[in-house]
Subunit: 210 residues, 2 copies
DNA sequence: GAGTAAGTTGACCCAGGGGTCAAGAAACTG
DNA sequence: CAGTTTCTTGACCCCTGGGTCAACTTACTC
């Protein structure tokens, strides 16, 4: 590979990393090229497909973060607390990084590494749930699939509220946790709900252009 | 208005009603015209904007359904049961009719009648929640805004699972209800979770082209 | 410092959706 | 039935995004 190609690939990786993190994995490729200061032809030339770029730029990072979350969750003495930590942490990652949200949601089935990560995350989730269930901390009929669906909706919510009420998703997480754990008590809710006048904005983002 | 224009408007209303119900309120207008057997120019001519068409075709229907749900919810002796009914019923409406889902989500802020309905639904929700709270059936920190956000995510989930696991959303509703009510007991979950092999499909729909 | 291989560019193609409008067709009206 | 008004049509414009490729530039090699 020629030196200038190497440089361009680097510029493209940097631009992609930025844009993926800002706006998710389906940012227009031409925009990535623009930010990298390079023709979009070059992007296609060096990476071929969006999936390859994603695998190259995002996969490792996402794997690290999700892996760390799972590991930490399993290190808790209290399996129930570990479970709660995991759910919150993954949602937090999704909220702070749209790219991670897209990874967890499996939005790009064609990106190989990414799907592998997705699978690992799912396995981790299953283990964490199983552990909490055996400890009697969560209802026995809660499954990994339930959690994944929740993550999917939570990712969308987090993105929808990001500019308006960036912590609104935390309340939904709290409802889920309270709906799933066996202990009766409701903990106090984190943060206030969005103000009524924020709702139209948030709702339209939720359903609108993702 | 000329007789043929009247006829065409009727054909367009019918086609729009069908397509809105099948695929939600952001179906391409040209497709509506195509199904009506009419040029898209005629659609623009007779209705002007998508919002006008929506107001004309969907608003009344949605208002009726949501209104009936609210009314029935308030007719329950047990305020907590009324609340649970309302949440389930609204989600059910969203699941069976993408158009209603879009109405509840406020996806089209420019459609006047529709926004009015949205406001009414919100008021109803607030009343139902307030009643349940006063009866001590739900946690006191749960608000109408929380419920609306939940409806927003639930609409997306229901649509995502529609073809694959059409009742998967019911479990998330159950988690919410259990997370929100003051009684300790978890009811049995409605339906099984989606099968693991269904998850990729569902997740990609959740995040994918809405 | 040529010659050659490698890489870059931007004009170009496509599809899909929103929207407009001059010309032609159809329905009323007297 | 002719004249007038209303309505319809489909070609046309816009835009965004994905993707390709011939012609040009640049870097490496001898």
């Amino acid at each position: 590979m020629r030196a200038d190609a190497q440089r361009n690939a680097e510029k493209l990786r940097a631009a992609a990393a930025e844009l993926f993190q800002e706006r998710g994995l389906k940012v227009p490729l031409k925009e990535i090229a623009r930010r990298a200061g390079v023709s979009h032809g070059t992007l296609y030339n060096l990476f071929g497909t969006r999936e390859a770029l994603i695998d190259d730029v995002v996969a490792g990072l996402a794997a690290d973060r999700l892996g760390a979350a799972a590991e930490h969750a399993l290190s808790f003495e209290d399996a129930g607390k570990g479970f709660a930590y995991y759910v919150q942490r993954v949602c937090e990652l999704q909220a702070t990084d749209p790219a991670v949200a897209d990874v967890v949601s499996g939005r790009f089935p064609a990106a190989e590494c990414l799907m592998a990560i997705c699978g690992q995350a799912q396995d981790a989730a299953t283990r964490i749930i199983e552990r909490a269930r055996l400890a009697g901390a969560i209802r026995p009929d809660f499954t990994g699939e339930d959690l994944l669906l929740f993550f999917g909706t939570s990712a969308l919510l987090a993105r929808a509220v990001a500019d308006t009420a960036p912590d609104a998703w935390r309340r939904q997480v709290a409802f889920l946790l309270d709906g799933v754990r066996t202990e009766a008590a409701h903990g106090p809710l984190p943060f206030a709900p969005p103000a009524p006048q924020q709702i139209p904005d948030v709702m339209s983002r939720l359903a609108g252009t993702p």
